[in-house]
């Protein structure tokens, strides 16, 4: 979706302002926000693509006014409601009022190290051979899907070159919407700065994205 998350090339946000010796957390609640998000995700009711889509579906004004942990929590509340784990009444009262759906699993403290060490690999076998090879010129798709996609606006309808054929990976555009993993080949595609940004672009700049095969056409 052409949502607030699609930030590449937008202007007006000001300087980056790196913080020297930045702590991992800026408030105690951020620790709990990280943990609640990960433990709730471990219930197995949604995947990473659905959670990313929930975050980018916040109203743009809300998204830009929120810190990243706030974005996580706001999206998590939506996911928990969508999957029947919490209700508006629960949230209004700040305690468990309504019954909850049954999770696939509950992450216990003793299992955390193994679960974090395992992660969530999303490479998958793809039945068909890769359509492109390194060095192939390609053009990215021009589209504006209302659902989740990982092709940023600045890299749509642009000519680039396949730099590397990666692996088969779960396709987020369908997986985010419960329509299956439908794995596709992923490629690293590199673009010249002027191809993306046009007049006045930095001629020393190249930008790459990692693109699923269906985002690409031969050029």
């Amino acid at each position: 979706m052409n949502g607030p998350q699609d930030l590449g090339g937008q202007m007006g946000f000001g300087p980056v302002a790196p913080e020297k010796d930045e702590p991992y957390f800026h408030a105690a609640w951020e620790r709990r926000a990280l943990g609640v998000t990960l433990t709730a995700g471990a219930m197995g009711a949604w995947n990473i693509d659905e959670s990313r889509h929930a975050r980018e579906s916040l109203h743009p004004a809300d998204y830009y006014a929120s810190s990243y942990y706030q974005i996580w929590i706001k999206a998590l509340e939506e996911l928990l409601k969508r999957h029947g784990f919490i209700s508006e009444r629960d949230l209004a009262e700040g305690r468990a009022v309504d019954p909850a759906a049954t999770p696939k699993r509950v992450l216990k403290a003793e299992n955390v190290p193994a679960v974090l060490a395992k992660g969530g690999p999303c490479d998958r076998p793809v039945a068909t051979p890769a359509r492109f090879k390194a060095g192939d010129p390609v053009r990215t798709k021009n589209f504006s899907p209302t659902g989740h996609t990982r092709l940023p606006r600045y890299a749509r309808d642009k000519q680039g070159v396949i730099e590397a054929v990666r692996d088969g990976f779960v396709f987020p555009d369908s997986n985010a919407h419960g329509k299956g993993e439908n794995p596709q080949w992923v490629y690293t595609v590199v673009f010249n700065g002027p191809e993306i940004w046009g007049e006045g672009a930095d001629p020393t700049l190249t930008v790459s994205i990692d693109a699923w095969e269906s985002y690409l056409e031969p050029a």
Binding site: K118, G119, F169, D210
Partner: protein
Amino acid sequence: MSHDHDHDNEFDPFAARVRALETILTEKGLIDPAAIDVIVDTYETKIGPRNGARVVAKAWSDPAYADWLRRDATEAIASLSYTGRQGEHMQAVFNTEETHNLVVCTLCSCYPWSVLGLPPVWYKAPPYRSRAVIDPRGVLEEFGLTLSAEKKIRVWDSTAELRYLVVPMRPQNTEGWSEEQLAELVSRDAMIGTAVATVPA
């Protein structure tokens, strides 16, 4: 409960919101608060940019390891026991005399947690995510890094599940240094690409 929330301002509405959510989920038996404690402890004390710095120092010291890292970063990094969440599919990119590498996630905040730990706030915020792909030199200036005009810049937008680790160039006058000494020269920012390795005094 083994944890406390006493460090939050009790009038901070967001702290109250997170506390309420944790309470609801705990009362329903959906999450284990002790698991949250372990997660927080892991990312606050065990997994951080020292992991990545050891990878870089080993690559600087051992050409065979550097070659492995170039070909199969996931396995090469796993050989140092750095695996797991948000490091499942790693790619190492090497700075050269000709090219400086910079990593961003314009669409969210993808970051190689297994080698760098949790990302800093600026990495996740709109100024960096919007500008890194269009004005990387301007961004680097804000980090105090000025690249020569002829140096090429390659920006890697982590739009899929590959996670990128920048391998900065080894500083001069470090011949004979141990991997432990070399790792001290490698900052988190140098492995994102917003800095270079520290030049020894």
